[in-house]
Symmetry: C2
DNA sequence: AACGTAACGGACGGATGCGTCCACTTGCCG
DNA sequence: CGGCAAGTGGACGCATCCGTCCGTTACGTT
């Protein structure tokens, strides 16, 4: 297919993409084109001929991640157990975002001037909505959880890119597990077992009372 | 006190601080000194005389926020109801972080070259640990929740600064409520009421099983 | 009212990122 | 094996930010 490129050109192109993926994942979309070229051991002109704009480079570099996003939500929607499907989507999406700062930036449009995944966001959003609906219909996910809440979760996951890489995956999984625990339908046995003093700071409606 | 400044100087200094607070909150610590000077309608030299380095400006601009951080955790530690204290700390800290991108950057050392709140982080961390311990001793907070988990929560909260300002506070409060629900000790009635198919993706230990 | 000085803003030199142009190299095909 | 077009890296002009210097303004004092 892409044999239309001369072998040396193809090799350089691959090195550029590899360098871009590394740098985007580590440091987000802010890395300069020069930095990428340097890491790929290539001149700026080479980089710009293959990818005239940063947008082009970003799109190509995150092809895989976009595809995986699609797999994640479609797997979730196809899972025979709606609740498990929902949980897997949450955990896998959070992991994906936490591992790749650049992809999260791109997907969340942190740099709208560079690239905007609007179309993909919308497409995936639709599927996620069905995942949510299924889990709620099965009576496992709290009914007041909306798609907006899911978006907020993604934003939260974005912050996890800053966690130390060594322990990040474990931390993200714990975080996801905490959240999922809070998203289950409350056990049928409500209230009771109150603790100490009562009283609410009065800071607006809550999905669940604290006590 | 600060009557040592000429009145025009004092006025300019106040405008600079106001502009810095606005811009830091909106856009994080990356804003340039020039941008701040422009917003304050002041020349660069004026800005640099009052605050020779960006670090100086950041420290002064976030004095209030640091103090509020202190209040939050100390209030939490002093609350007669340990669980309510813990919940309030979570919610108030998340709100503070979500409202002020720059403060979160500074507190999390996102730009260590500019400023590092290491000392404050450590000091506040100690108090937070007691808040956690009290809530656990009262049997309300799951015992496997550690200080590291709290740090991860803060990182997550950082991502919420990107939420649309209009609905951000409400979104953060919902998010906090979900989390808190997941952090309560599990109700004494365990398992039962299983849903659909079983089976775990096998992605490591979890605080709680999903079903 | 006049003066001395604190305070001001514009302008400067240096550094860096940007995207493009160009003379040289090199893979490929006849 | 020789020629040409594709491919390359360095250099260029432009823009922005940086921190500092300096001539001018205007506050506060005598």
């Amino acid at each position: 297919m892409t044999h239309l490129l001369r072998v040396d050109a193809r090799e350089n192109r691959d090195r550029v993409l590899a360098a871009a993926r590394e740098l985007f994942a580590e440091s987000g979309l802010e890395v300069t084109m020069r930095q990428i070229a340097r890491r790929a051991d290539v001149g700026p002109a080479t980089l710009y001929r293959r990818f005239p704009t940063k947008r082009d480079l970003v799109l190509k570099a995150f092809e895989n991640e976009l595809a995986e996003c699609g797999s994640i939500v479609h797997d979730g929607a196809a899972d025979p157990d709606p609740w498990r499907g929902f949980c897997d989507v949450i955990e896998r999406i959070l992991l994906l975002n936490a591992r790749n700062q650049g992809f999260t930036d791109a997907f969340m449009s942190a740099h709208p001037d560079v690239v905007d995944f609007e179309a993909h966001r919308e497409e995936l959003g639709r599927v996620v909505s069905t995942v949510i609906g299924r889990a709620q219909a099965a009576g496992r996910l709290r009914p007041d959880f909306g798609f907006d809440d899911f978006a907020v979760l993604l934003l939260a996951g974005r912050g996890l890119t800053a966690a130390p890489a060594a322990t990040r995956d474990a931390a993200v999984r714990r975080f996801a597990a905490f959240l999922i625990d809070g998203l289950r339908v409350a056990d049928p046995e409500p209230s009771t077992r109150a603790g100490g003093a009562a009283g609410d700071g009065g800071s607006g409606p809550r999905p669940h009372p604290r006590s």
